[in-house]
């Protein structure tokens, strides 16, 4: 990839200005799709979240109410009608948040060495490694999740192997546990962590690492003071790419967790389905989007700060 497109200068010569204008025109179709397909539905969702819920799904158009939003955080007790915090929703929010953070940390822990390994291979073999990382994307997420089920269930590959070599006497319950969900999530999102990390480690100038050693820095110090600060944008990008989809994850918790404990994605789905409470579903969706937005703002602020460090 060349760096010719890397234009951030404001004082552009006329031909570059024309080029910039052309770029806007070229990107117009994409922009209009984004406007129509992303912003439009969000506006509808916002509108719906302020309406009265329909008896059998949908909303009563133009009958406004704050119930949807109030219900996200507060609820009348089912039995004594006192208003209190929406314990159920907060529990689910917290569970999703916790799972997403754990997934991100685990993906980072596994992804960093992997990306480092790939980036330090000879140039012509790197592409093969990156290619290998993308292989899981060839198969549908659903099918991969079913494959994990096969591996970890009671008569699955792991348990059968352990039983056969006599390490355990009875199968270990792995499927339908929180550990299974975490394992599945890390597996699914790991490539999204490795790829941006690889991109930033590849650009790392290893002469700086050598210089560090020359100046008697320990390995840990080199990692902490030289490598990590320089690959920080990649780390943050990877974390964001993993964290955001984790928050809304639906299939993996459902299949590997046995559907016993709801995640945010499942909670939202149930409001549009059996719950028949579209305003609440819309309000929770928007809350989720706000969470993601805060995460992004956090990212942008951090990335620009560290980006300035090494230009």
């Amino acid at each position: 990839m060349t760096t010719k497109t890397d234009v951030t200068n404001n004082e552009l010569p006329p031909y570059r200005k024309r080029e910039a204008l052309n770029r806007w025109i070229i990107s117009l179709p994409a922009l209009s799709i984004i406007m129509l397909a992303a912003i439009g539905p969000i506006l509808i969702m916002l509108l719906y979240s302020f309406m009265v819920k329909g008896d059998y799904g949908g909303v009563k158009l133009w009958e406004f109410s704050f119930d949807g939003w109030i219900n996200v955080f507060f609820q009348r007790d089912i039995f004594d009608e006192t208003l209190g915090l929406a314990d159920a929703h907060l529990t689910i929010f917290w569970r999703s948040l916790k799972l997403s953070i754990l997934t991100t940390l685990a993906a980072l822990a596994f992804g960093l060495p992997t990306a480092y390994f790939i980036a330090t291979r000879p140039k012509h073999t790197r592409e093969i490694w990156v290619f290998l990382i993308t292989i899981p994307f060839w198969a549908n997420l659903l099918i991969r999740t079913f494959a994990i089920q096969e591996v970890i269930r009671n008569e699955g590959i792991i348990n059968n192997t352990l039983l056969a070599i006599g390490i355990i006497d009875s199968p270990i319950q792995m499927l339908y546990t929180d550990g299974a969900i975490l394992f599945g999530m890390v597996y699914v999102y790991l490539p999204l962590m490795v790829l941006p990390l690889y991109a930033s480690i590849e650009k790392l100038d290893f002469r700086l690492v050598e210089a560090g050693y020359d100046l008697y820095a320990t390995r840990l110090k080199v990692l902490r003071r030289i490598i990590l600060p320089m690959i920080k944008p990649g780390m943050i990008a990877g974390c964001i790419l993993v964290f955001i989809p984790s928050l809304g994850a639906y299939v993996t918790p459902r299949l590997l967790g046995g559907g016993k404990n709801m995640m945010l994605g499942n909670l939202i789905e149930s409001q549009f389905g059996a719950g028949r409470n579209w305003p609440l579903g819309s309000a929770i969706s928007i809350t989720l989007m706000l969470l993601v937005m805060f995460a992004l703002i956090f990212y942008v602020r951090n990335a620009t700060r560290s980006g300035a460090n090494h230009g």
Partner: protein, 345 residues
């Protein structure tokens, strides 16, 4: 109401594109539960009327309702459960197709004609019916299985091995009856007991998921609260599996075929309605999904295994414990949803 969500959806989508006749004159688009439509029966219909049938799966009544309400779906036929038929009618989504005037209507079993959800069958015809009961691997637990305590107060052999279908209505029904209430009750005292019981019981379950048949075969589950047809299919793969009829109360279901009001192929849809009221064709539907149909004389065309399956004939002593899942008022339904969310948190 046979469902085995995600996997079968994927498989059925792949299969349904394969079902096609080369020079079909008309079309018919059926919106039905996943893994529920006999391909042989469809093929026979396609040949008989030179119609190309396309089947699309849904996984819950609410999904079907939402999609059809939204419009632009292109479906001609939908197969909602009994408690949803009145909602479809009330929302003006079903055509008054008058199947009661069709040629094969004489085959419909009398007990399924004057049903509360469609008096005299002016909108829908029976597809299949069954019940939600407890399914137990008797090699793990050999006590009394005709009770909801299998999943609401699991015996110690079954703790951590119970799967419960994630169906709000079916689960609430059994729990309300178990705690001594009636379906659609708004008695807060009973409902509080129901909530507490379900919260307590859930700790002892392993999962709340669809796709139970193969999990009994692999012995990942030792008990379940699930549908009788699935219980039969599980028994075929694991000889120790038995269906119990909870004496405290269990829900019956019947799914019925209706024509959607804005259907494009109304004539073909009516042909299909008439077609499935033919005993031989109804038997094919049952044979595939392992549920009973509502058509007299279809037993003659069924295999011996199906005809004699214990899962498909409720013993007389338990018949009274069963009840239909009527649609409750929107307020009651809303209350149940809140309890359900509370349980699932």
């Amino acid at each position: 109401m046979k469902k085995c969500k995600l996997l079968t959806t994927a498989v059925a989508l792949a299969l349904s594109t394969g079902i096609s006749t080369a020079h079909a004159e008309g079309e018919l688009n059926i919106f039905n539960w996943g893994d529920y439509t006999s391909p042989e029966m469809i093929e026979k219909f396609e040949k008989a009327y030179d119609v190309k049938v396309t089947i699309t799966d849904f996984d819950s009544n609410d999904t079907a309702l939402t999609k059809i309400k939204a419009g632009g779906h292109g479906f001609d036929i939908v197969v909602p459960s009994a408690n949803y038929v009145p909602i479809f009618v009330k929302e003006g989504l079903l055509l008054e197709a008058r199947p009661d005037l069709m040629e094969n209507f004489k085959n419909v079993d009398e007990q399924w004609v004057n049903v509360p959800w469609d008096q005299g069958r002016k909108y829908t015809v029976p597809w299949l019916w069954g019940l939600t009961g407890v399914v137990v691997d008797t090699s793990v637990y050999d006590g009394d299985i005709n009770t909801s305590s299998i999943f609401l107060d699991p015996p110690k052999e079954l703790i951590g091995k119970v799967n419960v279908a994630p169906e709000k209505n079916d689960v609430m029904y059994a729990a309300i009856r178990y705690m001594g209430g009636e379906w659609c009750t708004t008695d807060k005292e009973v409902l509080k007991k129901v909530r507490d019981k379900l919260v307590e019981a859930k700790e002892k379950w392993i999962a709340m998921d669809y796709g139970t048949i193969e999990k009994f075969a692999s012995r990942d589950y030792a008990a379940a609260y699930y549908w009788n047809g699935a219980a039969m299919r599980a028994r075929e793969k694991n000889v120790d599996v038995r269906l119990g009829y909870p004496k405290e109360g269990f829900p019956f279901f019947m799914d019925s075929v209706g024509i959607i009001k804005d259907a494009k192929n109304v004539e073909n849809a009516k042909l299909f309605m008439n077609f499935i009221m033919d005993p031989e064709n109804a038997a094919m539907i049952s044979e595939f999904a392992k549920y009973s149909n509502g058509i007299k004389g279809s037993e003659k065309f069924m295999s011996e295994e199906l005809r004699n399956a214990p899962e498909l004939s409720v013993p007389d002593e338990y018949k009274a414990a069963g009840g239909f899942l009527d649609s409750c008022s929107p307020e009651t339904s809303n209350l149940y949803t809140r309890i359900w969310t509370d349980i699932n948190k």
